[in-house]
């Protein structure tokens, strides 16, 4: 239990770093580290596949995309953030922790949850048999993502041919 809380705190800390660090590359890397923590948490929560995906795809692929973008926009990509935002963050953060704690505590005591027996089958069965529609949708979203990127990066010259 303790290790999980430590991991969760690490996740929070690196997320905070990701938004507070001025250097974008460093921020992206903090995000990747946070993903790493999340992946481990998944693993501990008996979701190993999700953990693997989180580490490889989010911490890996997405970070690469971020770094690529940052590199592409490096020339004029500096935007000066307001200092007050950084200074005020801890105050709001602590305030929110308190509120969050109170809310969760109050919810915690009232809510019954339906008891569910242990699951049958394996992960693969669940994914393919119960969530088949998700796979269809995944096809859809990948198609959408690919087409979107194609559309956004289409060559301008071609327009003139038309």
């Amino acid at each position: 239990m303790a290790i999980q809380i430590i991991l969760l705190c690490g996740l929070i800390i690196f997320s905070v770093l990701a938004i507070l660090l001025k250097d974008l590359i460093k921020a992206a890397l903090s995000l990747a580290v946070a993903s790493l923590f999340l992946g481990i948490i998944f693993f501990l929560l008996a979701a190993p596949y999700a953990g693997v995906f989180e580490i490889s795809v989010v911490a890996g692929l997405i970070t690469v995309l971020f770094v690529l973008t940052i590199a592409l926009t490096k020339k004029d990509g500096e935007v000066k953030e307001s200092r007050i935002v950084h200074l005020a963050f801890p105050i709001f953060f602590i305030l929110f922790i308190v509120i969050d704690g109170l809310v969760m505590k109050s919810l915690l005591q009232k809510i019954p949850v339906l008891p569910i027996g242990p699951e049958a089958g394996t992960f693969g069965e669940v994914l393919w048999k119960q969530r088949t529609f998700d796979l269809v949708a995944q096809i859809g979203i990948i198609l959408a993502g690919v087409l979107a990127v194609l559309a956004l990066f289409r060559k301008k010259e071609e327009d003139k041919d038309e």
Binding site: I19, I41, T122
Partner: protein
């Protein structure tokens, strides 16, 4: 068991707060998108944790994986947009994106 669920939800809420704080206050487009990523981390944490504490981890895991795929597609689209915006505006300042108003 449900105590644990709300512990995870507590952290996931924190992550979402961090993300929204960033969205509300910061100006760099890429930073804003990092904030979105943090929010989605919070959500995926909530999904897996919910499954784990409620004996439903296999289903939750499959949802999480699907969600990660969605995230990737979103990131790709969004970053493509950001690059395009950067090409047009030569800047990543979100405040410049206010030509459409009224």
């Amino acid at each position: 068991m449900s105590n644990l669920w709300f512990l995870y939800l507590f952290f996931s809420a924190l992550l979402i707060f961090i993300g929204i704080y960033c969205l509300l206050t910061m100006r760099n487009l890429i930073k804003l998108f990092i904030a979105i990523e943090i929010i989605s981390k919070g959500v995926s944490l909530a999904i897996v944790a919910t499954g784990a504490v409620n004996n439903n981890v296999l289903l939750a895991q499959s949802l999480a994986i699907t969600y990660i795929v969605i995230e990737v597609c979103l990131v790709a689209t969004a970053l493509a947009l950001i690059i395009n915006i950067y090409k047009k505006n030569k800047s990543l300042d979100v405040r410049l994106l206010s030509k459409l108003k009224g």
